[in-house]
């Protein structure tokens, strides 16, 4: 973990600006590609005109048919925006967890987020409460509540034991809570085997949307959690120097940890609620960022947000075009790329992690 990094010989401040600029370009290109490609291909110039046309005070004829315009505004764009938010949330939550736990393998689902959401979603599906009507669909709400309960139990149990210097008990509590919730979820799922397919399709992760409802639903949580994590990123670096040094420099490590863990869990739970379990994004994106820029949270946290967003938009593009018109679950695509990358990183860093 303590790989020395001279930041490729650039002055760090300048390098950061360049990296953010580069990452933003990748992001814009991913968005454009996703708008263009699909069962119906749309020319990029027309997309640009169409978007310009929507800006107040500008009027350009994009030459798109009404159907094409609807595909852009009501089908592709909401899904892209949801992908941006979910990918960004998972990656920034992973980066923050990794900073707090000082463990590069910490995953945003770590403290029971995934298992809790799984149970919540299963209960919603089995009880037939999901009506598939976007914003008022109970599935994401149930999944979110499940995550919140699971993480709450983990923090209450693990945090009570975890005195300032130890995060191990928090992690162990997370493992125990996750097992318990998964056991209950499996039990319910087996009893109601007619809904197995639905449960599995949720677990494998997907970004299908019905208009803008999902986006609107998670936007407030996404905004709050991201703001907290961004604001705390430098404090995480101070904490990384050492508990006592941080204390003597005027930081309250406990408070920092609670804030960051809380924000990261909220981010992960919101993402999971609308997209199911999308594996690996929270680990591989921050990891890839760290390989390039070194391990300063100050830089890794915000860059993970941008790269995570692009990554998920691109994988979703693959998920919906590879077997078009059928869709692959996006979790399958991220695992397909993520797992080998992960093994590669493990191999490279053996002894370091």
């Amino acid at each position: 973990m303590t790989k020395d990094n001279q930041l490729l010989g650039f002055e760090p401040a300048k390098l950061t600006k360049r990296l953010v600029a580069g990452a933003s370009c990748i992001l814009l290109l991913s968005i454009l590609a996703s708008l263009m490609l699909g069962p119906v291909s749309i020319r990029p110039d027309r997309i640009l005109f169409e978007i310009l046309d929507r800006i107040p005070g500008i009027s350009i004829d994009s030459g798109l048919s009404q159907v094409e315009a609807a595909i852009i505004w009501d089908v592709r764009l909401p899904r892209i925006v949801l992908g941006l938010i979910v990918g960004g949330l998972l990656a920034i939550a992973g980066a923050s967890y990794q900073g707090v736990f000082r463990n590069p393998l910490a995953d945003p689902y770590l403290l029971g987020v995934a298992a809790g959401a799984g149970l919540g979603a299963t209960v919603a599906i089995v009880s037939g409460a999901t009506n598939g009507e976007g914003m008022f669909d109970t599935l994401p709400i149930a999944a979110f509540l499940g995550s919140a309960v699971a993480v709450g139990i983990t923090l209450a149990v693990g945090g009570a034991v975890a005195r300032s210097t130890s995060t191990a008990s928090l992690l162990l509590a997370g493992v125990a809570v996750a097992s318990l919730f998964t056991a209950i979820q499996t039990y319910i799922q087996q009893r109601e085997s007619t809904t197995l397919r639905q449960v599995y399709s949720w677990i494998l992760g997907r970004l299908s949307t019905s208009g803008w409802d999902e986006v609107i639903m998670i936007l407030p949580y996404a905004a709050v959690s991201v703001l907290v994590m961004i604001a705390m990123r430098g404090t995480l670096d101070v904490l990384a120097v050492g508990e006592e040094e941080a204390l003597s420099l005027g930081i309250r490590p406990e408070r920092v940890r609670w804030l960051v863990i809380g924000a990261a869990s909220l981010a992960a739970a919101s993402a999971v609620a609308v997209s199911g379990l999308i594996a690996f994004v929270g680990i591989i994106v921050p990891h890839a960022v760290r390989l390039v820029v070194g391990a300063s949270n100050r830089i890794v946290v915000p860059l993970s947000l941008i790269i995570g967003a692009s990554f998920l938009v691109l994988t979703d593009l693959l998920a919906r075009t590879l077997q078009s018109p059928a869709e692959l679950p996006i979790g399958v695509v991220t695992a397909f790329f993520g797992a080998p990358f992960f093994l590669f990183v493990l191999r490279r860093s053996d002894g370091i992690i």
Binding site: Q6, D237, V241, R252
Partner: protein, 252 residues
């Protein structure tokens, strides 16, 4: 150097009264009372395990004492978090192991806490950091990374990092014990400059030369107790306690 008589005119920066500290059943501080005046430099001597670290760690509340009072710059240390925060912002600490953040340059290590804890503007924090690196004698290393510096240089960065928070008191816990002999002097020189600049300092060290030359007073501890307090002259030439004499005979 001020004498004890001169010190009486100065405000008390650190007051410990009848402080007791236990780790479980083990009593690490026994009825410790000491007063340190503004701008005074006090060196704490004593054999290993005598409670020196415990004492200075209690002073910025890295450890909590159980009985007695500790008052730092007029604020009593209690469980009140606001008090603790106030004290920590006035007290800088330098440890034996100079943990710097390996992924940040020297200047970023120094500006990190001012920027993120104090919310100091970037330009002001950097200007201050440059001055401090100048003061500790390594202005040319600002853009390097900790891994590229010697131990003595890293410890000087750690001193600059603590000073960047503009403390009124500096605590040092064996700041040169992890260093190769040839690097000890450069660190002690920085501490000497700091003392001459009027910083209130409490220094745990085994460097007798530093104690003799820089200390206003020496506190000698053993088994959790303060055995003897006095000027270096008194301490090294004319100690009153037998335990002090024994200690001195072993190290000198």
């Amino acid at each position: 150097m001020s004498t004890e008589a001169a010190n009486t005119n100065r405000a008390d920066m650190i007051v410990c009264e009848n402080v007791d500290k236990w780790y479980g059943d083990f009593q690490a501080l026994k009825d410790v009372s000491a007063t340190i005046a503004e701008q005074e430099v006090v060196v704490v001597l004593g054999p290993s395990g005598s409670g020196k670290s415990t004492l200075i760690r209690c002073i910025n509340r890295l450890e909590a004492h159980q009985q007695g009072t500790i008052i730092v710059d007029g604020v009593e240390l209690t469980n009140d978090l606001r008090n603790i925060e106030k004290i920590r912002s006035e007290v800088g600490m330098v440890f034996q192991q100079f943990n710097l953040f390996p992924h940040l340059s020297v200047i970023d290590n120094v500006t990190l806490a001012p920027k993120w804890v104090r919310k100091m503007p970037k330009a002001a924090a950097e200007k201050k950091a440059e001055e401090l690196l100048e003061m500790v004698g390594i202005p040319e290393q600002a853009e390097k990374y900790p891994g590229q510096l010697s131990g003595g240089q890293q410890q000087r960065v750690a001193i600059a990092r603590a000073l960047a928070m503009e403390p009124r008191i500096m605590l040092f816990d064996e700041p040169t014990s992890a260093l190769d002999p040839e690097m000890i002097k450069e660190v002690l020189d920085v501490m000497k400059d700091l003392a001459h600049g009027g910083m209130t300092m409490m220094v745990v060290t085994h460097e007798m030369g530093f104690a003799r030359e820089v200390a206003d007073r020496i506190i000698f501890m053993e088994s959790g107790e303060i055995v003897e307090v006095g000027t270096p002259e008194h301490f090294f030439t004319n100690p009153t306690e037998d335990r002090t004499k024994l200690f001195l005979s072993q190290i000198l």
